[in-house]
């Protein structure tokens, strides 16, 4: 038994808050728990279909992702559809790149899945944030990774 200040148990007490899910919904909607800095490392693959990198990635950007980081400025009630966060705020866009055609060792990347990775950070966060990943391809995108709030 140890007496404990209940404030210690609040999320504000931690140096960092981690949000990870295996896998995230897309878009991902989350509270920032009052934090002001965010670091995200996200990777994803298409849920269906092999997407091998082509030899002409500049002409075939079907899996060059766009990350939309948006603030939801409205009713925060999950049941009203805040989760989907469609078009109220275009927010900030982060552009990813097409998968390279070769690795550094000269071999081709795996062709059965198409993994993309992006890292970005943001500051001066609102109360709630949405991150949406879009690509030219219409295949469902399954994002994994971690959101670190500081």
């Amino acid at each position: 038994m140890e007496y404990i200040d209940p404030q210690v148990l609040r999320p504000e007490h931690h140096r960092k808050i981690y949000i990870t899910e295996d896998n995230f919904p897309n878009p991902l909607f989350f509270s920032t728990f009052g934090r002001k800095k965010l670091f995200a490392r996200l990777h994803f693959f298409a849920s269906t279909g092999a997407v091998p990198p082509t030899n002409n990635p500049q002409n075939d950007p079907q899996y060059a992702p766009v990350f939309q980081i948006a603030e939801y400025d409205g009713n925060y009630d999950y049941s009203t559809g805040a989760y989907f966060l469609d078009n109220w705020d275009v927010g900030t866009l982060v552009l990813g790149t097409q998968e390279p055609t070769t690795r550094f060792d000269g071999y081709s990347p795996p062709t059965d899945i198409s993994i993309k990775l992006v890292e970005f950070s943001a500051e001066d966060l609102p109360a709630y944030i949405s991150i949406r990943i879009k690509a030219q391809s219409t295949n469902t995108i399954l994002p994994y990774g971690v959101i670190v709030l500081e």
């Binding site: 038994m1 140890e2 007496y3 404990i4 200040d5 209940p6 210690v8 148990l9 609040r10 999320p11 504000e12 007490h13 931690h14 140096r15 960092k16 808050i17 981690y18 949000i19 990870t20 899910e21 295996d22 896998n23 995230f24 919904p25 991902l28 909607f29 989350f30 509270s31 920032t32 728990f33 009052g34 925060y76 009630d77 999950y78 805040a82 989760y83 109360a127 709630y128 971690v146 709030l149």
Partner: protein, 345 residues
């Protein structure tokens, strides 16, 4: 179970001075027999006769229209629940809930199962809210079912915690119903290390009164539903889930449910080995934020002062008993793998 005389408590007091009328709630043999009988009734053996008793070696793929289809490549087995000699699988964590709709007590508890082909969470219901006599077969409701779309529908993990009613009232109160919040950790880390869970999920249920063991269709929020939250990016694998409490709104958008749990201090990455690693355990906190329906994890463990014989802590419970002051009760975990409940006042 016992009664607490708060006025008799003082630091250093013997437990017998303030912890009154201790009584048995449930014997492990009783629970074992009830679980095996329930399994035999709902998942009867079909192709191969059971070896040495009912409820053993449940065939893979056994189906029940109410409780779902069992799965997993290996036979399930709850047989060791039946005797002291083979060792009880009761995990020692019981979650009694007061059902205010009909003035009864629901006792949820979980057992360790050998694989995903067995159910882990069960429930008794008694109208004797003082539990003056141990629970019996007639009060056994059976195994809990809720659908996990990603992993398995069996609720086969014993890493489970529940409170009721939902203190943040994200599901409106309805006459004749009682809401609840539960956390559930499951999965096998690295595919071969069953000692610690892989994922955590959290959920709000609209009603556990009408049918306490069937939660399908009543789940109103389910965070990390696509596969499961991984604590601190998967560094600390949950071992036991402790109690749930509510974190009220502060100056931030922080109103959420918090669940204490314990996890290894180091990432458990024994690929190919299932031998238990004696590792220090830390108390950590998972947060279920219902407005955003998201599961989050605090980076920092809670540290307790402890002696040299202790390498970790587990089974954390938040409570204000017996003196009204917030505290955490936990077990010390020692080098010889023994547990000692830390209750030294």
């Amino acid at each position: 179970m016992a009664d607490v005389d708060e006025s008799a408590f003082k630091p250093g007091a013997q437990a017998s001075e303030w912890l009154l009328n201790p009584r048995l709630v449930l014997s492990t043999l009783q629970a074992g027999n009830d679980i095996i009988n329930w399994f035999d009734a709902n998942y009867p053996y079909t192709s191969v006769p059971p070896s040495g008793g009912v409820g053993q070696e449940t065939p893979n793929g056994q189906s029940n229209s109410t409780y779902g289809t069992l799965q997993g490549g290996s036979p399930g087995n709850v047989s060791r629940m039946a005797s002291f000699s083979t060792g009880s699988s009761i995990d020692g964590q019981f979650w009694p809930i007061y059902d205010y709709v009909d003035n009864s007590i629901l006792l949820f508890f979980s057992i360790k199962t050998p694989n995903v082909n067995t159910k882990a969470i069960y429930c008794y219901k008694t109208t004797d809210t003082e539990i003056r006599t141990p629970l019996t077969s007639s009060q056994f409701l059976g195994g809990v079912i809720f659908a996990l779309p990603f992993y398995n529908p069996n609720a086969s993990s014993h890493r489970f915690s529940i409170i009721s009613p939902d203190p943040l009232v994200t599901t409106p109160r309805v006459a004749g119903q009682q809401s609840a919040v539960f956390f559930y950790a499951y999965g096998v880390f690295d595919g071969s290390t069953p000692d610690h869970g892989r994922w955590i999920e959290a959920s709000v249920i609209s009603d556990i009164h009408t049918n306490p063991v069937n939660w399908n269709g009543k789940i109103t929020l389910f965070a990390a539903i696509n596969g499961g939250g991984v604590d601190v990016a998967g560094q600390y694998n949950p071992d036991k889930l402790g109690s749930i409490f509510v974190v009220p709104q502060g100056n931030t958008t922080s109103a959420c449910y918090a669940c204490l749990y314990n996890a290894t201090t180091d990432r458990d990455i024994r690929s190919g080995s299932n031998a238990l690693v004696i590792n220090a355990m830390q108390i950590r906190i998972a947060y279920f934020h219902p407005a955003a329906n998201v599961l989050a994890f605090g980076s920092d463990p809670i540290s307790f002062a402890s002696g040299v014989g202790t390498i970790g802590h587990c089974r954390p419970q938040f409570t204000t008993y017996p003196d009204g002051v917030p505290k955490i009760i936990y077990n010390d975990f020692a080098f010889d793998q023994s547990l000692k409940t830390v209750w030294s006042t």
